[in-house]
């Protein structure tokens, strides 16, 4: 009776996780499906972008790389916008999303995921305090300007900045120097924490001994390198887009006869060229490590190599060698190296770089589940495009797009409070 009861009760909610998007080939165990799908691809991708954006801004604050000055402030604010989004895919992926907080209540520290909440919060605190110190002078200036102004919007802004300043109004030289020192220290602590945050995401995969593709001590380092690559690329890309947009909207406004508008310069080629050098450096490191991993697997040819080879060189050949290595790494590498660089060329190279890192995440997460634990069969992932229930929305194309779009919306909002781009 109990069985009939549960079947009757569960029939409408019954959903075998993974059945909708997995097809099997040859022999796989009955319970094997693609359990970790697109959202788990998004998770390291978004975390990587956060870490990369932060590292880019720290290069200026800590190592005083003057050539990065313009983009440093922008990438710091952008990494704040990306921060909440790193958690989103995990939340989307949980079968019991309302219990997500349990990780903070009873962290089970033998698990690689358990400390993620702690590392992540530490990192969030660092980013927030760094932004506070960078913008404190700006907050106080705004308070001075808005003081005594009428109108609801101005009052609101006044109180908002009053709150954000945390009551520290001192703008003496000594205080400003202290702010700068604090920024430098925080950015200095932030680099290892950002790398740890992301290397940690790599460890989550690299430590799964049951998975022949994931298990590798190189995984955390590979993840960090590609994270920095993608973070820098996204910051540059967004920078170019915003600056060009501002330029064109100014030109159009002027064209319409609004003479008060000043025509501003678009993205500066100088900034872009210099930043892209750092990008190339990290890209080389990332590719070298990935190739080392691949060669090592082939050379040692452990038990799992037969099936891994058939996946890498056969079923996933296009994904790995064409889309990831060629289109995502080699093509932008050449594009950025050819002399006579232009903003447009960089723009397309950056899109390829971002795509390449995404494909790397895809090939790790989905590729790692493309073969059965029995080494005798394969599984194929079909990304749900048109959702027919909540599950296929969350773990489908539109769920992933929601995650991808959120940081831009957040950046738009945050940028209203802490403007991160200067226009000339």
């Amino acid at each position: 009776m109990a069985v009939e009861h549960i079947v009757a009760q569960g029939a409408e909610h019954m959903f075998v996780h993974g059945l909708d998007w997995t097809t099997k080939e040859l022999f796989t165990y009955p319970n094997e499906f693609i359990y970790w799908s697109i959202q788990i691809v998004m998770y390291p991708y978004m975390t990587g972008l956060v870490a990369g954006a932060f590292v880019l801004s720290s290069l200026y604050h800590v190592f005083g790389q003057q050539d990065l000055k313009t983009i440093a402030r922008f990438s710091l604010v952008f990494s704040l916008a990306l921060l909440p989004v790193a958690m989103m895919p995990l939340q989307f992926h949980l079968q019991q999303p309302f219990r997500g907080m349990n990780v903070m209540f009873t962290p089970h520290f033998t698990s690689a995921i358990a400390a993620f909440g702690i590392v992540f919060s530490t990192y969030a605190v660092i980013v927030l305090s760094e932004i506070y110190f960078v913008y404190r002078k700006f907050f106080v200036d705004q308070i001075q300007i808005l003081k005594g102004k009428e109108g609801a919007a101005d009052r609101f802004k006044y109180y908002l900045y009053l709150m954000l300043s945390l009551g520290a109004f001192d703008l003496s030289d000594r205080a400003i120097a202290l702010d700068k020192k604090a920024v430098k220290i925080l950015a200095g602590i932030g680099i290892p924490v950002a790398c740890f945050l992301h290397g940690y995401a790599g460890f989550i995969f690299g430590s799964v001994k049951a998975n022949a593709l994931w298990m590798s001590p190189l995984m955390p380092v590979i993840f960090i390198m590609s994270a920095v690559v993608s973070g820098i690329a996204l910051c540059m890309l967004t920078y170019i887009l915003i600056m060009e947009f501002k330029k064109w909207s100014a030109i159009i406004a002027k064209g319409k006869g609004d003479e008060s508008v000043q025509v501003i310069a678009g993205a500066e080629l100088d900034v872009i060229t210099k930043t892209s050098r750092y990008l190339l450096g990290f890209l080389v490191a990332a590719i070298s490590l990935e190739l080392l991993d691949l060669i090592f697997r082939g050379y040692t040819a452990m038990k799992s190599w037969d099936i891994l080879r058939s996946v890498m060189y056969g079923k996933d050949f296009i994904n790995i060698f064409v889309l990831q290595y060629t289109l995502g790494n080699l093509v932008p590498f050449i594009m950025l190296l050819i002399p006579g660089i232009t903003i447009r060329r960089v723009f397309f190279a950056l899109i390829f770089v971002l795509f390449g890192v995404f494909m790397m995440r895809w090939n790790v997460v989905i590729g790692g589940q493309a073969f059965s634990l029995s080494f005798a069969g394969y599984m194929h992932y079909h990304l749900p495009i048109i959702p027919h229930n909540l599950e296929t929305f969350k773990e489908g194309l539109f769920g992933a797009l929601t995650v991808a779009a959120t940081p831009f919306v957040l950046f738009w909002i945050i940028n209203k409070v802490t403007p991160s781009l200067e226009y000339k």
Binding site: V16, N31, Y35, R99, F105, P107, L373
Partner: protein, 256 residues
């Protein structure tokens, strides 16, 4: 009120000390630790599968699904039976349609007719959770919702599991899945609710050929323990270091 930096630091230190000392008398326990105190430490449940006796009737899978309320018509299952057919040309055919639930009555494998005169050997292998001594699934659970009892069985707390799937990924045997109704990690428990009361597991009771047996490794007089001690037995995938506790008689090198 004035408060110098020195006073502030002093008071902060005092308060921290005053709260930390009484708190240190307590010990933080994870739910896994608390739950792990269930069970009897004088018992170590182990399983013995004699593959020579298995005919692939699938009654064990049926019994398990009904007993443990795993929706009958879903492909997921706590236990299953695999069929291996080895050919003269060295090819191996393996299948387990519906986990072998309906028995192997068809000689076709994956829609392919297998010529009987080309077969060198064929056999069935029942699979169930190995209740490992060092379970990878317990190690990776971020909230401690899965735990090992004192008598060696790995269980899942359905009220605490967040459904992240890390344990499913960590199991080298592919034993775990998400329960289609409860939406939490699900696995074979050696029918813990039954063995605790001195009954046999559903699959052991359903097996007409005695291919499946359960026993207590800590009892030297237990017939299962005697076989494990006296005879040549093997376990699955010991290279993962999880120390599986389901022992097999007649295991073949082709078994995955």
């Amino acid at each position: 009120m004035s408060c110098s930096r020195r006073d502030f630091l002093k008071n902060t230190f005092k308060t921290t000390l005053a709260t930390a000392l009484p708190l240190s008398a307590f010990r933080m326990l994870s739910p896994a630790e608390v739950k792990a105190y269930t069970g009897d430490s004088s018992i170590r449940w182990v399983f013995l599968v004699d593959t020579n006796k298995c005919v692939g009737c699938g009654l064990c899978v049926k019994a398990c699904k009904l007993e443990n309320e795993v929706p009958y018509d879903t492909p997921v299952t706590r236990t299953w039976v695999e069929r291996y057919v080895l050919m003269k040309n060295g090819q191996t055919h393996i299948d387990s349609p519906n986990g072998g639930r309906d028995g192997y009555t068809d000689s076709k494998i994956d829609e392919n007719e297998i010529p009987a005169d080309q077969i060198t050997k064929g056999f069935f292998v029942p699979k169930l959770c190995n209740q490992c001594k060092k379970p990878a699934c317990v190690q990776v659970c971020p909230v401690g919702a899965t735990y090992q009892t004192l008598d060696g069985v790995v269980l899942v707390d359905r009220s605490w599991c967040i459904g992240c799937g890390y344990c499913i990924m960590a199991c080298p045997y592919g034993m775990r899945f998400f329960h289609p109704v409860y939406k939490v990690a699900e696995k074979c428990t050696f029918c813990y609710h039954r063995i605790k009361k001195g009954m046999k597991t559903a699959c052991v009771q359903a097996c007409p050929f005695g291919a499946r047996q359960i026993g207590n490794l800590k009892d030297p007089n237990d017939p299962v323990t005697k076989i494990i001690m006296d005879q040549r037995v093997a376990v699955l995938k010991d290279e993962y270091g999880t120390k599986p506790q389901v022992y097999y008689i007649g295991l073949d090198t082709n078994v995955r």
